[in-house]
Symmetry: C2
Subunit: 336 residues, 2 copies
């Protein structure tokens, strides 16, 4: 048997089964999103539709509805919360793209390049406020608490990243603090709020929060690795964006630390002063791969994914739990 297994080509972890399980809930979430992004002020639904329609994986609302089901939810109690989570996420994307001056989002032209930065800022504010209106409708003060706190922590993480973005001496601890706040916190809050909506016990809420936090860290680390092309050398469409923006992500930080004084001039010029030639990204990639920095980043991501799965031990081994386990594996194996 083992020999046969070894001969089977390595299969990509898939979340197809999870997506199928949650499809009815996610249709409900989608309907709420569509309904609640409407406004008599026509720029608002036009701009919101542009970014929401661009797809995105909707991992965060998925997490909320699956956490609720795993906790035993029978009704639709988590759907409005899940939509609120997606609105908060979309609001942060709109503001991020203005802050970073990004030109692309989910493969489409960034909204601020079409409608202008002012509209992107204000429609972000609209979606953020709408998220809180939706939460009020659920009547859960605990869920409100979780998501208000998460929204504040995300803003703190964004400001911290902004002030330290190009700091080549950023420690791994500070980097993890930044991605904890700006990415993992919303995954944690989505899972915890979903658990609350599903009527979970305190221990189950804590477990799902821990799952979400670790999943979010794994997801962001994999994302940062992907920007340098992943270990497969299959470059993603937007690979190199972090490098060109001079963003101090873990693959870069590790490579800088590991190549030491030998390459300090290169890093100082290309990242510190952002004076880059066309060949620099290729060179940075070679140094990062050569220093084992990409592998180390993906190893750390895999560790967080394992932590995420381990946090689910308090739950029975049903299809919802298996779905979340597959999501953890998927988060560190994706190629785009």
């Amino acid at each position: 048997m083992d020999v046969v297994k070894a001969a089977i080509p390595h299969r990509q972890p898939s979340i197809d089964r999870l997506v199928e399980l949650a499809s009815s809930d996610m249709s409900g979430v989608d309907a709420i999103i569509r309904g609640r992004m409407q406004s008599p002020v026509s720029v608002i639904p036009a701009l919101a539709d542009h970014i929401i329609d661009a797809g995105g994986k909707r991992l965060r609302p998925l997490l909320a509805v699956v956490a609720a089901r795993l906790a035993g939810a029978r009704g639709d109690s988590s759907l409005k919360l899940a939509a609120a989570v997606e609105f908060i996420h979309t609001a942060t994307l709109l503001h991020d793209d203005v802050v970073d001056g990004s030109r692309l989002r989910r493969g489409k032209v960034a909204a601020h390049l079409i409608w202008g930065a002012p509209s992107s800022v204000l429609v972000g504010d609209f979606l953020f406020a709408r998220a809180f209106e939706l939460m009020v409708e659920t009547g859960s003060m605990r869920a409100m608490d979780i998501l208000a706190r998460a929204s504040r922590v995300i803003a703190e993480g964004e400001v911290l990243q902004l002030t330290r973005a190009h700091d080549l001496g950023l420690s791994q601890a500070t980097y993890l603090e930044i991605i904890s706040a700006k990415t993992a916190e919303l995954f944690a809050a989505a899972a915890e709020a979903g658990a609350v909506a599903g009527g979970a016990s305190a221990a189950q809420c804590a477990a799902l929060r821990a799952y979400g936090l670790n999943l979010g860290l794994a997801f962001q680390l994999a994302d940062d690795a992907l920007d340098y092309g992943g270990v497969t050398e299959t470059l993603g469409k937007n690979a190199g964006d972090d490098f060109r923006e001079g963003k101090a992500t873990l693959p870069l930080l590790l490579a800088i630390a590991r190549t030491g004084p030998r390459e300090v001039d290169f890093w100082e010029r290309a990242i510190g002063r952002k004076e880059q030639t066309d060949a620099d990204f290729r060179r940075a990639r070679e140094l990062i791969v050569g220093a084992g920095a990409l592998e180390a980043t993906l190893d750390l991501a895999a560790e967080y994914a394992e932590n995420a799965k381990a946090a689910l031990a308090v739950f029975p081994g049903n299809e919802w739990r298996h779905g979340l386990e597959s999501l953890a594996d998927f988060s560190v194996s994706r190629r785009a």
Copy 2:
């Protein structure tokens, strides 16, 4: 007696007595504001302190605590809500200044010119989220509902203004719709949420909401008139800002309508195309005063101030009610 009264020089309406009555509550609000704008990410308190310390009249939190007292509040139930209202207001100011590219706020250099637009956007997000955290602590889902809705309406008003800002054909109705949403809604929500915190009846909540809405309209109309120097010809420090930005406010809209085809070239050039010479503001002011547009704007403001006072009829004639009446008079008489 009437003769004596008539001989007394016209006194500016004053809110000194109201400010004194509410001083203990407002000290409590100030302590909450100072405490909750803190963050380990040092840019956040620095930037927040800059705009909050610049003063401002704190009319909105004042409205919340006074509404609570008028409704019979005995404890401190409204203070956190009042601080939340000021945080929402401050967040909108930070975003507005980025959106409008304003250079001054409350007589100080606008925050985005010191810390950059990205920090202003993100610290605004922080304060907005912090406002919702404070509301969660009050435990009032009704107050949360009122302020979440208000935040969404404000964003809609801002976007509407953004898309119609330079439209010389803007109707008075649309103009009033914009200032209702972007300004008066938060006054209404502050008063209503304060009433809820004070344990007001449904009729009292509705009355205080109506008071706040009318006060907000009066306040904004007076503000728009003040930008053209007020009837006293005493120019405020920032007079002319709306004109230079080509903002379609009521004094301008009325003057354009009333001067008709005779001045259409002037308005088209100075506002439509924003090609202004130094002498244009003086000319615009003369046309606006000559057309009676300033007086008409202030008359409308006075009407809303009267509506605001009339809404208070459901309350006994105590010092809190008199304080709110003086606030309505003050809002249409201020010179800066």
